[in-house]
Amino acid sequence: MHTAPTNPLALIAELTHRCPLHCVYCSNPVELQSRANELTTETWSRVFKEAAELGVLQADLTGGEPLARTDILDLVRSARSSGLYVNLITSGLPLDEARLAKLVEAGLDHLQLSFQGADPQTAEEISGTKTHAQKLKLLEWLKKVRVAVTLNFVIHRRNIDQIDAMLAIAESSSATRVEFANVQYYGWAFANRERLLPARAQLDRSLEILKAAQERLRGKIKIEYVVPDYYARFPKPCMGGWGRKLMLITPTGEALPCHAAQIIPELKFENVKGRGLREIWETSEAFQKFRGEAWMQAPCKTCDRRELDFGGCRCQALLLAGDPAATDPVCSLAPTRHKVDAIIAAANNGARSDQTLTKPDWLYRLNPPSVHSSAAVDDDH
């Protein structure tokens, strides 16, 4: 049964899976896509035009690290001239003051800068790189250009006690928006989950601090926070619903309803190299799969909330319940909620809480394969 889809509002353009950082929480798939097959500048330009024609308002230039693309200025220019609002989701390197000015000149509207911690030691532990100082330099350069600035602090057990110090960084910058985004458990974050999930007491304390800061900074900085959905009663309306608001294009051109969708085994994805965006959005099997309500199981099928949260996240249902059509297990009404309760209990037992003080045995995000092979060889950066 086909449901006439609404038009997408945002295009998530994963320009590359190359990245100078190796964050243990990275949401990229564990199977990273090789540089050899990245889309060309010309193909991305066509995709941006088609997206604008489809009604898309915003392009998120992301990755990996979008600045790793040597054609990033052309990509910004072409997205902007297609009529899209251009967001750059970045770690802040490689970048110098001159290149930043050129990005703004090329039409960049908004730069969202990630932070792995409030200090160099934490940032180095989490990202496996010494990149914190560069981010602070970038904050100074950003004061001299006219662009919207958001700071994105990725939060987890190892840095959730640093919120005050993070706020201090934000307040001394020109950022007008700050996100405190608790890690969501996909990709590399899922592999590192036991070391990342905060204890309830840590989460509660962080919320106290953030709510107070929101009030204090109202009209100066807009503070947003995302709690780990394992701790919620109801699931998030993932992506605004499957195939409703967002479309993601991978570095090699596959069109996905979300960044984790490739883990769902029965889905077949179309590629922008062979198909137009409108055709993919409206008719592709992958986008149609979880639209409407026909696919829903109990209790979602008859639940009052199904038009609010769409049954939660399909990828999370697969990861935690083994079935992408199941109720998202984080939902308090899910038959599999006990699995999430067990994960939470483990994160809150006394022995685990003590481990906050010692560095865990992390699985660091690798580089993508440098040639079309499965060997993740150390690459050119």
Binding site: G55, L57, R146, K222
Partner: protein, 91 residues
């Protein structure tokens, strides 16, 4: 906190007017506001040159059939909301 009548609202860096499918929109990080009628008239005047009082006066004239006090309070509420979203600065 109410905007000062002599302050001039101006679109913040990275916030701009655009159009999509004949609909005027205000674009900003991760959000878009559809603009119609009064909201469009207000945002178009957030140019760093109109004072809050001028915006109120001009819209009271434009919407002469509406209760002037209501026009004023609606404008102040809308400007406050845009400011909290960080879409405008007051200069």
């Amino acid at each position: 906190m109410q905007p000062h009548p002599n302050s001039c609202p101006r679109l913040a860096p990275g916030c701009r007017l655009s159009e999509n499918n004949q609909q005027r929109v205000l674009l900003m990080p991760e959000r878009a506001f559809r603009l119609n009628g009064p909201s469009l008239e207000i945002v178009e005047r957030c140019d760093g040159k109109h004072t809050v009082q001028q915006i109120i006066t001009e819209l009271q004239l434009l919407y002469s059939k509406a209760e002037p006090k209501k026009v004023e309070s609606d404008i102040l509420d809308y400007l406050t909301r845009l400011h909290e979203q960080r879409a405008i600065d007051f200069e």
